[in-house]
Amino acid sequence: MTKVKSLADLKKMKESLQAKIDLREKGDAAENLIQIKVAMATCGIASGAKNVMEFLLEELEKRGINAVITQTGCMGYCYAEPTIEVKLPNADPVVFGYVDTKKADEIIEKYIKNGELVDGIIPVNYESIDNK
């Protein structure tokens, strides 16, 4: 792949990007979307949330999984950072703690692909932080 060095280079990538997006959108309706939130407050960032978020963005794209990945604030689980919230279609959101790139890989392969639960879930009656 040629290096993207200027805005003109970026423009050239537009078509191949568009093709990728079209392909994906045909397969998945909005309600089938996987939503992932990465806790990106001071506690999360200090423990490596940035690497985890970049890993998720890059790997989910590579593995062809249609997901929306967003940043969120501190969920109050500072002791277990980095934490991520994964919401599969038609399922309650689940929060995983102590997520490094290795754990994130396991979450993609087991939980996101097969719905199989993996260690590291923070249980307690969880509400999405946006509802607080």
């Binding site: 805005l7 990007l17 997006i21 960032i45 200090a46 970049e54 501190c74 109050g76």
Partner: protein, 184 residues
């Protein structure tokens, strides 16, 4: 925080939380005058004088999930331990301007880290906020903004996961040229 890029990511979350629509980030590296300067300028809701006085206190926070807020105190400490400073100007309704300065040659000065990744993450995660990032290394400069990228991508949403690697590469290759290397 291990490096400056993480501080940027962290401190900009304050602007996002203040409901800013425009966020300007400036990074200056000046060898002759021996400093690294970072400013974050936003048009969010701002702070009143009373809150501003307490803002560098670790026990000041607006969040409800915990009672401490370390973003600003940690950045202030890292700046001051090099002989630099952190300053915040703000008025309610007028936005906030945060400036930090590090003494570059000081042994405790934090490394740059992955600045390109931070800027790309911010721009791609918050497509509704107008970001502009300006970096100056001595006399060389580079700028990127949400508008520039939107124009180049012509309608492809910035928060699509296929876009992030491209944007990161675009910023990284330009920062490489300015010799802002990832030492983090």
């Amino acid at each position: 925080m291990k490096d400056l890029s993480l501080h940027i990511l962290d401190i900009v979350q304050n602007s996002v939380a203040a409901e800013a629509k425009v966020i300007q980030i400036t990074l200056e590296i000046d060898d002759r005058n021996d400093y690294i300067g970072l400013t974050v300028n936003d048009n969010g809701k701002g702070m009143d004088g009373d809150f501003l006085k307490r803002v560098a206190d670790p026990f000041t926070t607006t969040r409800t999930t915990r009672r401490v807020g370390l973003g600003i105190p940690l950045l202030k400490q890292n700046a001051e331990q090099t002989g630099g400073f952190l300053r915040i100007e703000s008025e309610p309704g007028m936005g906030t301007k945060l400036s930090v300065r590090f003494v570059k040659s000081h042994i405790d000065c934090v490394p740059m880290g992955d600045v390109a990744g931070t800027i790309a993450l911010l721009i791609c995660s918050y497509p509704s906020i107008e970001f502009s990032f300006h970096v100056r290394v001595n006399s060389a400069e580079f700028s990127v903004s949400t508008t520039d990228l939107n124009d180049a991508l012509g309608g492809i949403p910035l928060n699509d996961s296929a876009v992030f690697p491209m944007v990161k590469e675009y910023i990284a290759s330009n920062l490489d040229e300015l010799q802002i290397t990832n030492l983090g």
